[in-house]
Symmetry: C2
Subunit: 371 residues, 2 copies
């Protein structure tokens, strides 16, 4: 375990838990949503705005950053947080998910992955050890192991092979030297097969990881399948270490996972959907492009205290979107990040008060009449 | 004259002057730079940021706004400022310049202009009266007459014809009913022909305009030609009314024009150049894309107090630009608008102190070693 990295559960409510992660760069109250800053920028917003949305940690991507600007440039700048002007902890995804989504352009063996860069086509090799070394250079507060993430439609046999390789790699990576104070999380695979998930979890839980993540969910399987896995697997994850559900999801998904004891989340939905004009409101989503908002003087969600809702009307946001004015991507992103920040902050308070289920129900109750 | 619109010269230094415009929506200290918000958004930044850059008035475009979202939508929202969340005065360009830049797609007669919309190809007619009516609906604090802006390479005869038509239209427009408190400025044409400029100025100065603008400059003519016109024409513009140089220019151009007594400016350079990676510094410009900034830990300009320079290093800005992260367009725009805001604010103070020429010299002195 990494001595500078601490996790404490402060309260529980059923399987749901509220806690606190301590890193060398600051505190992370959990459950926590981590906005995605793939290329050292949470798209369309600045670090102060990310912080004001309620986020205390953000995520960068090893695969993207090793290609551009390159890990050495970030290392010499003092690490990812310093490089991007983020005054707080960061987590780096290992890049496994991105590499595997390259499909034909990546070749996976037990030694690692060879792929051609999406930027210039250069041949790049990413071994498990190298994935840790690069993250040491990036200087994130939490590094993730390189894992093999099977496709959503993979057969049971393919899932098993990916699990076995992930375990092999995990054993190799757990002892590679990291940056000072940098934690390392293992990643549990196993698709939607609960028995595989549990056996993989058992293997990883025995290794010296500071936290355990669930990977390979929300990759195309039906939502009830994912919920079944969360229900069966999460409560059996080591209680003393943070539990991180990777790449999930809607606020509903996050609240479901929190109810089963998950502590950390990341997802591109609040940022990516905003850039497509889709904003989250209690009980659903609206798309700002719709003609019915052409003269709507209301904010996205009346009562919302985000920088977008406290200032701008739907009619203006719709105009900006149709005109392609980039201000709108920022404003909608601010709203969505605030929505996610309020969701996890509300969950934390509710768990401490023992009222998580009623909070969850109230969160999902529409507050506008036009969903 | 419009009773709610007032202009007062507070100090002069040679031909340069410092003054104050009063509108129903607030004050505009002059010399003033007006950021361009063509489609009801100063590209890449929000209204609070525009204000913080030192701007007190911004510009919208009649041609663009009449097509999208439409003047009625803006009128029903309470006018352009209210629609876009800008708490201050606005000026609307008449759209003449945009229409004429459509070239083949616009047909000009003494009655006005017929053109096909760049959005859907629809046939649109813009008469001089209609240009004022639309601006009345947009509810700007300063409206501009529809003028004919000849091409930069136009012959003397073409320039004369455009002047004559502009005068004809001006006579028609000056008496059209406007929004309450809305001022109207006339536009002087005449290309780089000083005799034509002076005779057109004389005609327009006799009409009941609240301010006089110079149009048709910075349209491709050599800079010394423009400076010659400014030198000969500006000091002869009516002293009691604001003088507005349209579409100009670099900080050097603006300081030159201020020295000849111009009060108001607009230009897309600070915003457009930012989106191309070009930022203004004292004594020149730098392009953030250059390889020599790859590991440069300095802000764009050390000592600059803008939100970009007070927080972000060149190495990070360059990375964002190469990665295509939209945050960089905002940050570079903030720097450039701040640079322009400081330039005009500094000029105002210097004029009041009688030190305009030494301010101008110091403004143009490089403060970084790598121009």
């Amino acid at each position: 375990m990494t001595p500078e990295f601490k996790f404490m559960v402060r309260a529980t409510d059923g399987d749901a838990r509220s806690g606190m992660i301590t890193t060398g760069r600051g505190l992370v109250p959990t459950p926590a949503f981590m906005p995605v800053g793939t290329r050292a920028s949470v798209k369309a917003v600045d670090p102060d705005e990310v912080r004001s949305s309620g986020a205390s940690i953000l995520l960068g991507n090893t695969y993207h950053l090793m290609l551009r600007p390159g890990a050495q440039i970030i290392e010499r700048a003092g690490g990812l947080a310093q490089f991007m002007g983020w005054n707080g902890p960061t987590l780096t995804d290992s890049g496994g998910f991105q590499v595997f989504s390259l499909g034909e352009r990546a070749k996976v063996t037990d030694d690692g992955v060879v792929f051609s860069s999406h930027i210039d086509g250069d041949r790049v090799e990413l071994t498990p050890r190298r994935a840790i070394e690069i993250q040491a250079a990036l200087g994130s507060d939490i590094a993730m192991v390189l894992d093999e993430c099977p496709r959503g439609e993979a057969s049971r046999e393919e899932v098993i092979r990916a699990m076995e390789r992930t375990t092999l790699w995990a054993r190799d990576q757990v002892n590679v030297e990291r940056a000072k104070g940098q934690a390392l999380f293992g990643i549990v695979q196993g698709g939607t097969h609960v028995d595989l998930r549990l056996s993989h979890l058992e293997e990883l839980a025995q290794m010296d990881f500071d936290g355990i993540a669930l990977g390979g969910l929300s990759v195309g399987e039906p939502v009830p399948e994912m919920y079944r896995v969360l229900h069966e697997v999460c409560p059996r994850m080591p209680a003393q270490r943070p539990r991180y559900l990777m790449g999930v999801g809607t606020p509903d998904d996050i609240l479901e996972a929190i109810s089963h004891g998950v502590d950390m989340f990341d997802c591109v939905m609040p940022t990516r959907n905003a850039r497509n004009g889709q904003v989250f409101v209690h009980g659903g989503r609206i798309n700002i492009k719709q003609a019915r908002y052409a003269e709507d003087p209301r904010p996205i969600e009346p009562g919302c205290t985000c920088p977008c809702c406290s200032r701008f009307a739907r009619r203006y946001l719709r105009h900006l979107f149709l005109a392609g004015e980039m201000l709108v991507y920022r404003l909608l992103t601010l709203h969505n990040l605030h929505h996610y920040g309020e969701c996890t902050a509300g969950a934390r308070v509710a768990i401490e008060e023992g009222s998580f289920e009623s909070f969850r129900k109230s969160w999902g109750t529409p507050r506008v009449d036009d969903l």
